[in-house]
């Protein structure tokens, strides 16, 4: 700030005769500072727009900022697609829960997929025999990650009344890892829907930074 505002326009130049540049004095410095402040003040009447998120005009009011976990789990939770697959009498309760009276489409679970590759959820509904077990395991293996399993009914949970039977798997957790057990023989659609909501709560707790969602053995 030695020669700063020593131009010919500077006020009070004439007071110093022809000497150029004029000697810098304290009074001048204060005045120059004041001019700068004035200039900044009047040029800063409009606030800068926030530079972090530049939302195009047509997307305004449609954007929310959240964490990756919350977003992923929200999406997974509300679109859990089951495999269209049933083993025994429990499957009729599963079908009934998809019909209009109980209507699991309220939870985004009505899209029963005929292919395990499009599905997230395996509802093992009914008695699983050892002869059927390889097929169930194969369906589970064909499902893409992340995937979940509900054991529906007491037969799928533990073998149920056939626990000591020569042909019945004593619980499908001998074949595939199970996330939610729904008791009942068969469970009413209410119970299955409650099991689905328990699964929703479970999915809500997953995190991409920890174990992957939908565990595998």
């Amino acid at each position: 700030m030695t020669q700063g505002a020593g131009s010919q326009d500077a006020p009070g130049f004439a007071a110093y005769g022809q000497s150029f540049p004029p000697p810098v004095v304290e009074w001048d410095m204060d005045r120059i500072e004041g001019e700068g402040i004035e200039q900044l003040k009047w040029s800063a009447q409009e606030a800068f727009p926030d530079p972090e998120i530049d939302v195009p005009e047509d997307l305004q009011n449609n954007i929310a900022v959240t964490s990756v976990d919350a977003l992923l789990n929200w999406g997974r939770r509300n679109a859990v697609w089951p495999v269209a697959f049933g083993l025994a009498c429990c499957v009729f309760e599963m079908i009934a829960s998809a019909m209009s009276r109980f209507d699991i489409s309220r939870f985004g679970m009505e899209a029963m997929r005929a292919s395990p590759r499009q599905a997230d959820l395996l509802i093992v509904s009914g008695t699983l025999t050892w002869k059927m077990a390889p097929a169930v395991r194969r369906i589970y293996d064909q499902m893409s990650e992340p995937k979940w399993v509900i054991a529906m009914g007491v037969c799928a949970t533990s073998g149920g009344p056939y626990y000591q039977g020569y042909s019945v798997v004593p619980g499908v957790n001998h074949i595939v890892p199970v996330d939610v057990y729904v008791p009942g023989c068969p469970p009413r659609p209410d119970a299955l829907i409650y099991g689905i909501m328990q699964l929703h709560d479970k999915i809500r707790k997953y995190s991409v930074s920890h174990a992957p969602a939908g565990g595998t053995r």
């Binding site: 002869k131 626990y163 000591q164 039977g165 020569y166 042909s167 004593p170």
Partner: protein, 158 residues
Amino acid sequence: MTTAVTGNELADTVQRRFPEAVEEASEGALRVAPDAIADVCRFLREDALQDFDLLSSLTAVDYVEYFEIVYHLTSIARNASVVLKARVYGREAPALPSVVGVWQGADLQEREAFDLMGVTFTGHPNLKRMLTWEGFQGYPLRRDYLEPPLPYTWPQGG
């Protein structure tokens, strides 16, 4: 209502055709010799007066001393039914002729009886395990069947 033909009513007819075949005739059923069962069945199906064209059921019962094979025959045209029985002795290899040549529907039912009871039907075109799997040990519906001990079974067997 379907007429239930008793064993007594049918005994004379069968006896005239197969003198050695009838072992016992009762109100409920006609018991014939196991070796003659296929011939008797063919006669009952093809004879115009009998006309039992449907095998409703074929099953086996374990009486420990012997196995009894039970045939429920139905005539659709006559709206009549009758029960045939045949006893086979011995637990090692009980065997009797197959009736698949008479009724195609006997195929799966004989396989089921073979699978669960261990009764061999000679002449069956495809006699192998159906409800259990190849390599299954024993015949699970027999009275003396015990499941081999596994981690989830009771110590005394299933």
